[in-house]
Symmetry: C2
Subunit: 469 residues, 2 copies
């Protein structure tokens, strides 16, 4: 804390130096030098200040005239100087930077936040330029494949429990890919770009992928054909064992390391009971540069029927494809550490926005009612002048931890109270009337079945808990 | 959905028009006109696109060279044109804009997110320029004071359950303040600025506040003295009744409306059993312009002792002051609606960052262990070569919904497994050994008491649930 306060002070002082130079119209070199110092202090601070600044891009006019004399505190972006700015592309790179800057050597965490990609949006498929991702990562120096297997277990659990239909998870390893490229005769400097081309196999036919390799990336037909043989292979632990016997691959150190780990991974996945959905697939490449080991991608098998109003001739059904992906990236944290200290990491990104879009479309198609609230009970009345009794009971329920609601009207109609429950999915209504108050009971109504039963007031909380567990 | 896709298309086309004009160095007027159209389309879209764009301010270099061929998709801010940008100051104004743009007329929601204020940071008091706020708001046309009372109940519940020591919640009403200014002889056009001065009474003595009114804001001594009498008043429902009889205030329509509602509010607060902490305080003003009715602020009474290492002579204890505040703002949504349609709102902002800072300092002072994980049980072993059995049991527990962890090591020492539990606050350890496997049991250890008991494997889940409820 003491160090932090000192840094904070240094940043303040340095900030004044920079502002002074700017106001004096000092030379660009001089200002740049002082700004560099300022940024160094901010980086050292390591806290949120100066590192992650989330910005609401909105016309300043929106904020003007709302805050009275506090308006001077509004942050204007135009004051922030000429730094090169970008929107974050994923949550992995910021996570790695966070670990390096805070010298964290092991952590397991999830993170739900927005990321940005200048891609072609496809709203019907849940693809936007600004979208939420949900990342789960395990960082730390551990024994091989144990955290990797946990990541796959988590993806399996999520897709299983969300009940989105059949799915499978493709697994591969960057080292196997690199080894494969080497034994096929791809020059070292073309590994990454050929990897990107292989990655298109989920959207393009092999013939087109091959064309790109030969015509655009300059591979010979022979080399491309050799790659073609490998990338058509799919299997499980058995395929890893078979490839370890492959006369060419078995001569490549990287490929052997990857294949040995793949065998180990499958033995753990067996214990986790998830091998029925996991496929070792040599065509899985994933475009990103930072992966160093295992990579994986989860794919929904089903296409989701498009809602009726959009169901044009050209778009009969919506195919969603990949809904999660990830892998091991052991080098990324080291890129942000001044001394290059590595922290091995493995993680997964869940495309929650796409998953939501599928669930919404599913709900639309089945005209299922989606519950929009966690409220367990609505406190209601059929008679007038019982607002105070309703508020009192609501407060009693709140005090015991029951999620209760009450309409904010003095004398709402019983019908509108019941309709509110049906619209929002509140399962129970606690109805108060003169008679109930006299008898010390509450009429508890099940919204779905319309059954009603008188419950002694003292038993109400237990009864609600029992019925909404 | 169809409309949305069309708008998306229109935005794309219009974006190209703007870019073309810019590249052709067209006249500013012409570009502005086309940009205005573009913004209109974006506003119509109403979705997240183009409206709320959160931006990670970070040197572009951080992102460069990480994404391979996907790098072209990275969003650069420099391309986004010359709009005036600001960071959001609070969550209330964006909420109001969201309601207006999506034509939402009633909603109740909470929102936790970052806001930005160019204030003097005070880290020891949990005051930062970038900080999280937690807002709760109820929007809709309802009967008077019912949602307002619920907001106060929620503040009361939060501060009570967090156990942050004694607190009180000051309540006032903008209409009472305005009425009071009017009967004291403050000219209409000075209401807002005098309001801001009154708001300083929690940090400044009355004498200094009075000086500001007279010397800086140009009130006469007499007028200031009359204000001084009112703002020294504190009470409850009784004070509201008394002021309704006040010969001057009772002549003012606004004041009467405010005082009548204040009486009603206290009657509801009585039913909610929170009047012991709520004070009707005429000195509470709150600086923001957008309030139209009830306003409130929660204040912690205790000062928190500073942690030992910072406890210099000049800073003996840390006073935190206001940790929550809010009020009614019936006009704000209408400011964003093209037709000025109003949606009455009442809400509260919880200063969670300040509250966290207090809780952390409290924990530091009491050297209490803060639990950093929700994990219920660690699956461990004292013997070698049991990784597979540990993984299998972990998976079994996960499948039943138990939060279980396992160290990612082949043969970790029992001591390091127990230490992990103590460091992270995991309360139970499920220990496997050859003997336990043979007997079909698991040794369940309570980390705190060190008690161990053999539990038949079939009963393990129930036993863990029972012990960690």
């Amino acid at each position: 804390m003491a160090d932090k306060a000192q840094l904070q002070e240094a940043i303040k002082t340095q900030g004044e130096v920079v502002r002074k130079l700017k106001s004096e119209k000092a030379s660009k070199e001089q200002i740049d030098e002082e700004v560099a110092k300022l940024l160094q202090f901010k980086a050292q601070l390591g806290g949120d200040e100066g590192k992650h600044v989330f910005v609401l891009k909105t016309a300043k006019e929106t904020l003007t005239g709302k805050y009275g004399e506090d308006s001077k505190l509004i942050y204007d972006l135009k004051d922030q100087g000429g730094e090169l700015l970008s929107l974050r592309y994923d949550l992995t790179v910021p996570f790695a930077r966070y670990l390096a800057m805070n010298k964290i050597t092991n952590i397991k965490r999830y993170h739900i936040a927005k990321v940005y990609r200048r891609d072609n949006p496809a709203m019907t498929r849940g693809r936007y330029r600004e979208f939420y991702q949900c990342d789960f990562d395990i960082a730390g120096q551990y024994d091989a494949m144990i955290p990797d297997a946990e990541c796959l277990k988590i993806v399996y659990e999520i897709l299983n429990e969300l009940d989105l239909g059949d799915f499978h998870i493709k697994v591969n390893d960057r080292r196997i890919l690199d080894g494969m490229f080497a034994v096929c005769g791809v020059p070292d400097e073309k590994f990454r770009t050929i990897c990107s081309t292989v990655d298109k196999l989920d959207k393009m036919a092999w013939e087109d992928v091959k064309k790109e390799m030969v015509n655009e990336k300059g591979l010979s037909e022979d080399v491309a054909n050799r790659i073609g043989e490998y990338v058509s292979m799919q299997g499980g632990q058995d395929l890893a064992e078979q490839l370890l016997q492959d006369p060419k691959l078995s001569q490549n150190k990287q490929a052997c390391a990857g294949l040995t780990d793949m065998k180990l991974l499958f033995s753990y996945l067996e214990l986790f009971q998830v091998t029925d959905k996991v496929v070792f697939d040599l065509s899985l490449a994933r475009g990103l540069d930072y992966y160093t080991g295992v990579i994986y991608e989860a794919i929904l098998s089903q296409t989701i029927p498009a809602p009726a109003e959009q169901n044009g001739a050209d778009e009969a059904a919506v195919s969603v494809g990949s809904v999660a992906g990830g892998g091991r990236y052991d080098g990324l944290v080291g890129m942000f550490d001044p001394k290059g200290r590595k922290v091995p990491c493995v993680g997964v990104s869940i495309g929650i926005e796409r998953i939501f879009s599928i669930m919404e479309q599913k709900a639309e198609t089945s005209s299922e009612k989606v519950r929009t609230t966690e409220t367990q009970v609505l406190v209601a009345s059929a008679q007038k002048n019982l607002l105070e009794e309703r508020l009192k009971l609501t407060s009693e329920l709140w005090n015991t931890g029951i999620k209760a609601e009450v309409l904010y009207k003095k004398n709402p109609k019983l019908l509108s109270q019941l309709q509110h429950c049906e619209e929002t999915g509140i399962p129970l209504v606690a109805i108060l009337g003169e008679q109930e108050l006299k008898d010390g009971v509450v009429k508890l109504r099940n919204v779905a079945s319309r059954e009603e039963v008188d419950v002694p007031r003292a038993d109400l909380v237990d009864e609600i808990k029992k019925r909404t567990l």
